[in-house]
Symmetry: C2
Subunit: 470 residues, 2 copies
Amino acid sequence: MDGWARITTEDLTELKLIVGEDHLRSDEESRHEYGHDETEDLVHPPDVVVFPASVDEVSSILKFANERSIPVTAIGARTGLSGGALSTHGGIALSMKRFDSIIQIDERNFQATVEPGVINQVFHHACKAEGLFYPPDPSSWGSCTLGGNLAYNAGGPKAVKYGVTNQYVLNLEVVLASGEVIWTGANVLKNSTGYNLTQLMVGSEGTLGIITKVVFKLLPYPKEDLTLLVPFSSAENACAAVSAIFHEGVTPAGMEFMERDAIDWTLKYVDDVQVPTGEDIEAHLLIELDGNDADVLFKDAEVIATVVEKFGAGEVLIADNQAQRDALWKLRRRVGEAVKSHSIYKEEDTVVPRAELPVLLKGVKDIGAKYGFKSVCYGHAGDGNLHVNIVKGEMTDEAWNTELPKGIREIFELVKGLGGTISGEHGIGYVQKDYLDIVFNDANLAAQKAIKKALDPKGILNPGKIFPGS
Amino acid sequence: MDGWARITTEDLTELKLIVGEDHLRSDEESRHEYGHDETEDLVHPPDVVVFPASVDEVSSILKFANERSIPVTAIGARTGLSGGALSTHGGIALSMKRFDSIIQIDERNFQATVEPGVINQVFHHACKAEGLFYPPDPSSWGSCTLGGNLAYNAGGPKAVKYGVTNQYVLNLEVVLASGEVIWTGANVLKNSTGYNLTQLMVGSEGTLGIITKVVFKLLPYPKEDLTLLVPFSSAENACAAVSAIFHEGVTPAGMEFMERDAIDWTLKYVDDVQVPTGEDIEAHLLIELDGNDADVLFKDAEVIATVVEKFGAGEVLIADNQAQRDALWKLRRRVGEAVKSHSIYKEEDTVVPRAELPVLLKGVKDIGAKYGFKSVCYGHAGDGNLHVNIVKGEMTDEAWNTELPKGIREIFELVKGLGGTISGEHGIGYVQKDYLDIVFNDANLAAQKAIKKALDPKGILNPGKIFPGS
């Protein structure tokens, strides 16, 4: 176990003293439950799951774990797609579910102070009730927590206009590996005071500290929105239209791409949504516009209609009531689950400059043909973020285990060559770490490791993640 | 000199071999020229100024300096206001002025690849010529360079709607202290791949690496704008109106506050601008709206007029042609220079949550009265970023040297208590470092120092900056 300690009976006694008898579980069932997230069928159980409820408890747990060199893996809602919450080296699973308080929504300053165990959608609606807008909304927003969103710098459909999680984080309360507690920044919109520890923590996958409080910046909630569904007879044309729309000066609040297969499988999986599925349709763009002026949105929709026509789009469907709109977004949000329910799969989270999307899509299909795998592609086309779901289908186990990794490497090399990278919003975690050499040179990896070593000398925080060979 | 080496004749010979005879200066005049920026009257000359032109040359210089433990201070246009470019420990001043190429403006992807020695305004206009928008525009935009903007995470009037420099940085080519060269990220809008070294470098004041290339994200250039000047009979009411305007759902592209004295002194300094200066006027808000639809801007202007009336504003002046608009912005951009031309001064760069601005303004005046100093306040009110210019005027040298630091500390403690911090856009540099304990606890400072040590073990990069007592 590379020098990490396993949990002993004495350790359990110590941990119970910190969190209380009722907030610790070491039975087989709990360890299994907390040993997986939504990443493939992987299970890596911790030795024990603890449920602290205060920064002092987290501090005491880390101090204890650091002294004893026990691995500590922070756990949110286990909706992650890169295996970041797996206790690959055993030790303590630190569930943050009891950190579920929205401490303050400050409508004077458009800010909120929140605990990391709050569910994304719950927070979104609490802000909305005050006329305020927290834009990041990953597909799993109904169950994922803000802490997990921070750990992986989550995106979601609205990122194209509003940016991802890190753009909304002003300040973090963090417990360091030593158990010491810091605030990383200040509750302000601009800050040139020392190193940006806030942005270093966001996206660091629980390897540099445990976030116990967050101060978010919020926006005024947009008053109007409009959702469009645009069918295309060619998936590559759909991708090419994305870039052309931005070029006309229209910045949609959502710009989602779905391949034919993604829609077909999802329609089998959700039974209350209807979309055009004519035989000549190979892909759809789901486009959302928002703002404070309905006339402007309709003007923008006209611009979009003119652009997509040039790319051979079929008739543009405008969702003109909330029920239609919700149905379309439900379809989009369920694609991932639907495709995955169909077969053993691997999901890749490629991202490129958005005008390169057609090249990426064609490359993925060509590489699939070469190595014998089929893929279903969908994702946040406005950001150049294409989710590539590789389905096992009829592939032999041998091809799956030996040929596929070569194919994935080739896809990632293509992505890198296009100026992109291997994860746009899912993180590196456990399943992508051995591809990191594709995007970072040795000096960069050494710099990242040096920072890890500086903040967590014993390597107790979420070992086995991010770094190749870890 | 704390273990740092001074430059010898042999060193000069080595450095000439790297950059060429014509691109090194060690004469008294050059050393003096490169020994100051725009911070007070401080002068700390380097031993030698070098002017590399390629990443390989920068790499060779750092490798050499690192082996010899020679301090290296990166130099842009020396417009900084926190003394970050001062060679306080001698050594090499690394001027980046020959890195002045706009390598590519990629209008397909709304991105640009640029060298750090390019002047902000030059870059802004090059983007604009392609229909693209690079929003950060500090007051010194006509002379400051992008590299300096990155080092201090510069803001400017448009930050209130568009954010500061760090929101536009996708990827950086950086030479580390060892001379090794890395790219920090990828050319994409969302990225969950490893630690965010990009955001760690931005704002690190040349203490963690030397930036040699930048990939910026750009926006479509807004088609319309509208500038308003609003007079108030009370400075605190002007500050209070700021928050109220946002609360009505209007997000201006600029929201600047100027105290009466700031305007009066500037009007003496620039002779071709006319603004109302009735006796009952104590402050102005300069407000800019932008977007793609002129009707929307006029509607927003009406909302603003209604709001400010409640705060006792006088008649709202609308600049309805480009000449008027330019004149108003010229006035605002020259305030700093004008106030400083008047007296010996110190400039503070306080920032608080924006609804706390009236409290901050009142606090600054009260603390000034207590310690016997006068201040002129102006700045980016929409961001809660108030520049406090303390003028020496009739103060004795003794009061200036002994009482004033106590007063500044009290202002910063007030700022911290309001959820704010001690620099919004100027950086900590040389002149604010000994106040850092106000905003960071020991564990935070230790974490920052550990990161510094991890990336620059010998401490050669811009020593004497950021950290208290350094």
